[in-house]
Symmetry: C3
Subunit: 346 residues, 3 copies
């Protein structure tokens, strides 16, 4: 829904081309909010972006090649609308070219990694705003390969067609290292699942090679949701492990409850560190989040979210969102955030 | 006029959405010129951008939410078309999301500051090209808060509807400083005025907090214009003051005279420094500018402008424009510039 | 063909404007490939962009001013779709505004230099992918003015209309140096030629001033092609010389052979260094390239290319493409590359 919002009438300039078969879509989201983050005895109040959906601008299109074949492109970049994209516009959310047909889709370019999807699809808050459990890049400094935490450059993916509700994706991304040296950033992963009617379940895996085996990064996660109409329940379990055996495991049950034109969202996420020193293993953290979003239309939504993180050991995880920061939880301390915003898609 | 140039037929991808009520507009300006700047006994000749209107690219749209409510977005960035945007494309001219209705408009994001508008609306040369009096950021190095001179990140604005010609804007922008520390970049301002028939008058104020009170920045300005048909006369008075009492006051009368498809523009601006040492107070400067623009159509205009700055004391203000520089007036010396260009809007 | 792919229905916002006479065109190319480069006993495999045509995104439009006059704009930037434009989006491929009529076209802004065109038009591989002979910027470190190798900022061009097959371009670009100092980057050039039916021939020249005469840069080239239907033969001769007399001369014969929906491409390019020390003069290199491209439609093409460079003396030229590198030929050694990709235009 949020990625398919405006189709422009397209007239190809080629004589003889069937214009009805071609289209380019301009699409985007501008999502801005006001948030207050509190941690370590201090607070900061300001404007955030992407509190409900990631602000973005993109262009995409599909061409019918005949014989059941299609070609397509997709370029999409982030908008940090609170500061006017001070860092500059790029197309790092996705920039791909695809060939599609009855066999499925082959896709080349910068794209999401296989193991990222479940962490956003099965979190009631996605990976946006103060409420997200952010169950990716969980190893922090111990994660040698954050470059593939969400997306990867130089990726080739194969997507099966929908096979009676089942589907799968295989992905390989080149680390582009010279032969005989390290294999840093070489990535391979897969995702498979089933979605039909009220049920959706997916499992995914992704391995990113590091400069040495000890800094390899392996992510594995499972998610499921069941939509009972009056309530949609979800559960996600995500694990990340480096080559030295350090692990972070997240378990996140969540609910989404429709209320008229609105939805109440709530989740609890436990992040459990394992496999390391007693200090490492003790640095767990929990996050609770609750929010309400109200749809003014299918394109425009206002939302409010509250979230709280409780750290164990010397962990310092802090509630945050894009465009606002500066406070950090005290070691083992708490952190909270509240955010009000509006998401407008085009 | 110059911001509303192309409406793309829009088809929303949502079944049931009323497509006639939605639109996204692509708009822009490419303005290029050739200029010669002379100062300090040297000169430089080259290509400029934005000599008549700021070169730009943007997307904006409005959605009708029903019940008199509307949502809208606006992202717009600068084009430095003489060098192909070497610094990279962003949306720093404006990137906002709005809710609008009978109550007016609430707007969130990066936007113009309240006290900027009069300095461009009531200058016959706007804030573009060699002719502009540039009555913003006048304190120079003594201005601790140039970040809000034209626009501010993290801004919330409320615009009243047009009330029989009267209108007002209130604006607050978050400096996003952590509690207990400095308040740098916190901004608040307002603008109010009347525009109907041949008359337009506006006053505005803006205060930006600095790290200490001494570097607070306060801007205040008034402008008015009267359009007699054969001649439009304007007057602007602008003052900037920092917390230590340093002031620059500008007074700028101007005229615009329609001549067939063209317009003759002329202005004189006196910039008077006050409130400081004798050296500060003596560093005044005057600028005269005269130009002619010829409209080939409503979208395409060719123009020529000549301007001259006379500095007092050790002031070194120099005629300049986007994309060309390198000469600087001798202390207390003069500077001049001449520019020929073409502005094309789309 | 590849630059004119999508016309958007345009409605000008001006009452009374003739909307049928206005249009803005969104256009672009996403071209991605997988390549293996081998040199110096090592290899690297990864994803490339722009292997057949340069990946790009652009907007352009033309306005009819009446009386045979037109105004137009063109902004176009590179897409590095393998990494999502990590360096940021700009419009450095071209950003111009033009006035056009029976007299020809006057164009202002960043644009291609006159002496670049032949090096891409008369190379069967253009200036893209592992196969291109890259007969521009051939002097390498001895070339003081690579800023104008392909394009120049601050350029003014005059293009004649097509005069019975003949046409010419004059170009001047401002180096924008302050008077009395160096003239670095001042550029002037021309290109003229004839194209009608199966024949196309063009000659071009471009001189870029350096800080001293010794680092002036002069490029001169000639190209021609003859299309016999079953085979298109081309020949290009390009010379670059700096003010100290160092030269590189390239001679490149090439062929393109249509085969059904495909085209076989092949070229041989000799790069001969002259005018310097024995070591300089000995550092020649040859490149052969052969490839096949298959058009799935006019917009979508798959391609495969193989190329090999043989260096003389201590030359280290290496087969490469956008987005992949890291290997370098041994002095006087060889280098090769193979690339498979898909080009999709929109």
């Amino acid at each position: 829904m949020k990625k398919s919002l405006l189709a422009l009438a397209a007239l190809t300039a080629f004589a003889g081309a069937a214009s009805a078969q071609s289209s380019v879509t301009l699409f985007g989201i501008v999502d801005a909010g006001v948030a207050r983050l509190s941690a370590g005895g201090k607070s900061v109040t300001g404007m955030t972006n992407s509190g409900y959906n990631s602000s973005r601008l993109g262009f995409r299109g599909v061409e019918d090649l005949g014989g059941g074949l299609q070609a397509g492109f997709w370029i999409e970049g982030q908008l940090t609308n609170d500061d006017g994209n001070a860092a500059g516009m790029n197309w790092q959310r996705r920039s791909t070219v695809s060939l599609m047909g009855g066999f499925g889709e082959i896709r080349l370019g910068r794209d999401y990694t296989t193991h990222f999807w479940n962490t956003t699809v099965y979190d009631p808050f996605g990976t946006n705003g103060v409420g997200s459990a952010n169950t990716f890049a969980m190893l922090g400094a111990a994660n040698a390969n954050v470059s593939t935490a969400v997306r990867s450059n130089n990726a080739i993916s194969y997507f099966t067609p929908n096979l009676g509700g089942f589907s799968a994706q295989l992905q390989y991304a080149f680390g582009e290292q010279v032969s005989g040296g390290v294999k840093t950033n070489n990535f391979m992963g897969f995702r498979l699942g089933y979605a039909a009617g009220p049920i959706s379940v997916h499992g995914a895996y992704g391995k990113t090679e590091g400069a040495t085996d000890a800094v390899d990064h392996k992510a594995m996660n499972f998610g499921g949701s069941f939509d009972m109409g009056f309530l949609k329940a979800s559960l996600m379990v995500a694990q990340e492990k480096n080559g030295a055996g350090l692990k972070t495991i997240a378990i996140e049950p969540g609910i989404m409850v429709p209320v008229g034109a609105g939805v109440i969202r709530a989740s609890f996420a436990r992040h459990d560190q394992k496999g390391g020193t007693a200090a490492w293993n003790d640095n767990d953290w929990d996050k609770i989040a609750v929010g309400y979003l109200h749809n003014l239309s299918k394109r425009t939504t206002v939302y409010a979210t509250y979230a709280r993180i409780a750290n164990d050991g010397t962990q310092t995880k802090t509630v945050a969102n894009n465009g606002l920061g500066g406070v950090t939880a005290s070691p083992g301390g708490n952190s909270s955030g509240i955010e009000f915003g509006v998401r407008h898609a085009f």
